[in-house]
């Protein structure tokens, strides 16, 4: 979802040092995980629990989208790692690295496929673990739109070349 115009404008106006909230989400078909994000934000070690129980930042329980939110004081870059503990209690590191922060940035979404050891950052938010990513949708939308315009413009020529009423 694109940000609302007001959010966009005020994010710039208050970007100086205003606290910003970042939503972290892990989309996965794997069940029964305990997920947390660890990072150092402006010198402070932070741990954020990503939950799939419909509480807090999580919109819907048991939908395979683990969500948590991190409030930070206008950091430019975050050093972050994602960890998961399965039903057997073993901890896995799903993702680690640096990510740049821009405002207003609502969600960072990671996707962990079934059987994969590492999560990957995805650009658009998949609504469900089984839902396909956006991929070529913008291209398809553009082509469909061009087709509609062509049909519309085409009617001008048919009418002009037809017999006079």
């Amino acid at each position: 979802m694109p940000p609302a115009l007001w959010t966009l404008l005020t994010a710039a106006a208050f970007a100086q040092e205003a606290p910003a909230t970042l939503t972290l989400a892990l989309v996965t078909p794997r069940e029964g995980l305990s997920v947390e994000a660890r990072g150092v934000v402006l010198g402070e070690a932070r741990i954020v629990a990503l939950r799939d129980d419909g509480e807090g930042a999580d919109e819907q329980a048991k939908d395979g989208v683990y969500t948590g939110s991190l409030t930070h004081g206008s950091a430019r870059v975050l050093s972050l790692s994602l960890h998961a503990r399965g039903p057997d209690g073993a901890e896995e590191t799903l993702w680690e690295g640096l990510e740049r922060v821009v405002h207003p940035e609502d969600r960072w979404v990671f996707r962990l496929e079934d059987g994969a050891r590492r999560a990957r950052r995805v650009a658009a938010t998949p609504l469900h673990p089984q839902a396909p990513e956006l991929g070529a949708a913008p291209t398809a939308a553009s082509l469909a739109w061009a087709g509609l315009i062509l049909l519309y413009v085409g009617t001008f020529f048919r009418r002009a070349e037809g017999p006079a009423p």
């Binding site: 710039a12 934000v41 010198g43 430019r76 821009v102 650009a123 070529a136 001008f156 009418r159």
Partner: protein, 541 residues
Amino acid sequence: MSRVALAVIGALLLALALSGPAPWAGDAALVGRHFDLHGTIWFLSAAPRIDGALVDPLTAWPEGASLRRADSWTLLALGRILAGLSPVLLHNLLQPLAVASGALVMWALARAEGVSARWSSLAALTWAGAGLTSTALLEGHVYQLLNLSLPLLAWSWRRATAPEGRAAHGLAAGLCFAFALATSAYTGVAAAILTLTILLYAAATGRLRLAPLAAAAAVALPAGLLYLRVFADGRAVDGLRFVSRGFESRAAMLQAGSADLVTLAAPGPALDLWGHSQSSFLSPTALILALVAPFALGGARAWGPWLTLVVVGLLVSMGPSVSDGARTLLPLPMSFITDLPAAELLRFPARLGWVTLIGLGVLAAKVGEALEARVGRRAWPLFAFALIDCVVLGGMPWRQRSETAQAPSAYAGEGAIFDLYPESPDPTDEWNQRLSAYACFYQARHGRPIADDCVAPSWSQNPRSAKQAALTEALLADGDAAALLREWRFEAVALHPDLFTPGDRARLQSALLRIDPTPSESVDGGEHLLVFTLPTLHQTP
């Protein structure tokens, strides 16, 4: 109100809408998505202090950085003329002004081609809503939007090759070419392609005239030679070493910077996250109108030169081959030059797409007007379609982002300061270049000399690269890091601790504490920063 005044107001409103938060951000926020934005801000801040030898004494310390390979002399001139303004504020103001002036000049070009004021606005919309415009805004290349000389060049050549063409028109074309070259190297190459296309078309139709051609050459050739001389002195022709930038071949490097069948369509969210927002999006409405131009406009004289510009612009901006982003489908003329090392300088052929936009804008305006003559008001929805192209498909201003324009307060002080960042092994240099851009932006704010060469085209050519490796080794292996810093004439080290892994952070911090047990620390300006000062250097005469 006159039509020109209406056009000015319309262009300004359109630019304000498309550039999003920039006009309102003042000095508080950097508006854009990618790290060239930080470099552009630094460039504006450095412009007033560049000496006659085009050296910036405060970067690439202590040698100083040569700006002979600077991308935009126009931006350099603007930075000098408007030296009293904050570079952040200047950049934020330039964004809407550049979009508005480009749209206005395209409107004027369509008017000069005989299109009515109303339909000429389609040319302005096609230009302002194009992917190249949004890319320049999002990537921080606002200077590429100061390319008014390209539509003016098209106008000059059209006049110069008309039966009433005079030497003065050729002179204007020569001046426009020189201004295009000063705007950016890519704009200069686009101007050369535009010139060749129009002249070849004129020659083919028997309209080439010698006097304007000679007048244009009298201005353009010396300007071009001077540019090449300065460019060559700056060792820009050394090339970018495609292998060191993670590409398997020079052709692959050129292809990655080219327009393809996917980037010509609407930009998707992945493009903003990983693709530097490099879109070659063209308005579908304008494309459809260009497609029907031969049917709507009749004789080839009305649409021939403009459609030729569209086709030639597409051929060059698609680089070595037609591609769908993943596979190459059809070789194009540029594939013949990929064996030349100098071809690496043309790393982003997509930026030559301005040639297409000029042809497309004028053609859309002409066809729109012709369709209105045919079907009356039923053609008016085309304006709405073009607006939808801009805002919905093109995605501006929704794709725009911002970040704090402050620098960490721990930078406050005097003397040269060495930024110590982690080094990424990623061969594309993405993070190394990004962190270098941050260091350069901070320099624009704190004003102290730094190790980075802010116009170095790659991390390996940045002098901080080798120095940072040596300093890190000295710090981690109990070497004499302080002696190294003294030798390089630095008086402080700025450690960016949060960006290192916990182990490296602890080891580096421990080693640096031996140099300065009481470092300055700040957590503002978007980063946690520790500044370790070498006390002995204060006594050096």
